[in-house]
Amino acid sequence: MVGAPFRPALVLVFGVLGLLIAVSFNTTSRLAEARPSRASDLVEVVREMEEQRGELQDRLAELRTEISRLERDAAEDSGIRNSFTHELDRVRQAAGLSEIRGPGVEVVLGDGTEVAAGADPNDYLIHDTDIASVVNALFVGGAEAIDVNGERIIANTPIRCAGTTILVNSTRLGSPYVIRAIGDPAALEQAVAADESASLLFEAYKTQFGLQVSLSKKAEVTVAAYRGSVRPQYAKPSDGGV
């Protein structure tokens, strides 16, 4: 083949071919680098933060026990303090900082198990709005305390959706969602039945999409205490108190 008459144009196109191959190589290796590292970084960050939060929650629980112990000690010291502590307990209970028991209902919301062919899988899942509407209906029925999978609903509890999970008090929950509410069981049941969007879950959606939903009246349910921190950063009492 020595001395074969290859024209400059052909040589040039070979050069172009080499360049194109190199550019493709650069691009694919850049993409391969970029994608997994970002995702795994985020997963790592989330895991670390969840671990941190777990530790902090444990610490918070410890400190709360310590505080109530000290309060009890103090209460024993004086009768005046006794009434003060009593008031504090009541306020704490109202704020959702203590575990409480009483008659009520237990609502279980679980995803549907089988998705019909060609159907939208989203229809077969419990969404944040479903939980929110049930919680809302229970409050309408006079519920005094509610938790979702052990996450106490307090004054500023958000119920929202993040990807494939539902966040309550920034804790990720998964199906089935168990909602416990303390109040008059009959009134709670009736309030859920009367709520337009909540009742849909128990009737139409249950039969249509096979959602695992149920509501049972209980003589006694236990509602968990709020485990997060309550420390307002911006809100201050308007009467100038502490």
Partner: protein, 114 residues
């Protein structure tokens, strides 16, 4: 032959050294362009061996094929049939192997192995 290999190596080296890359959305265009270039190279070798190589035919063929392939990919993207680029890939792929076969036979006859 040496000139062709050197040109190819030079192109690859240049690309790797400058580390030029394109947005992910352009990858399909780039792939089709690479196939068009491979096709043109083999076609050019074949024509050279048959001594029918013509600068005008070669360059215009390379350019129009590449542009048409890019156009097909573009139209496919626009009308939502992403797979339309396969038309170009299949066409170039067939030609590459056809030309490769011809080049092989031409080399055999040139070297007197028949």
């Amino acid at each position: 032959m040496l000139a062709l290999v050197l040109a190819l190596a030079l192109g690859v080296t240049l690309g790797l050294l400058t580390n030029v890359s394109v947005p992910a959305a352009w990858l399909t265009y780039l792939g089709v362009a690479v196939l068009a270039a491979i096709d043109a190279c083999l076609g050019g070798i074949k024509a050279s061996l048959e001594q029918t190589f013509d600068d005008k035919v070669f360059v215009s063929g390379f350019l129009t094929n590449t542009l048409m392939a890019a156009f097909i990919v573009f139209v496919g993207d626009r009308i939502g049939v992403r797979e339309l680029y396969l038309a170009a890939v299949v066409a170039f792929g067939l030609r590459v192997f056809e030309n490769l076969g011809t080049v092989r036979r031409l080399l055999f006859s040139r070297w007197g192995w028949e």
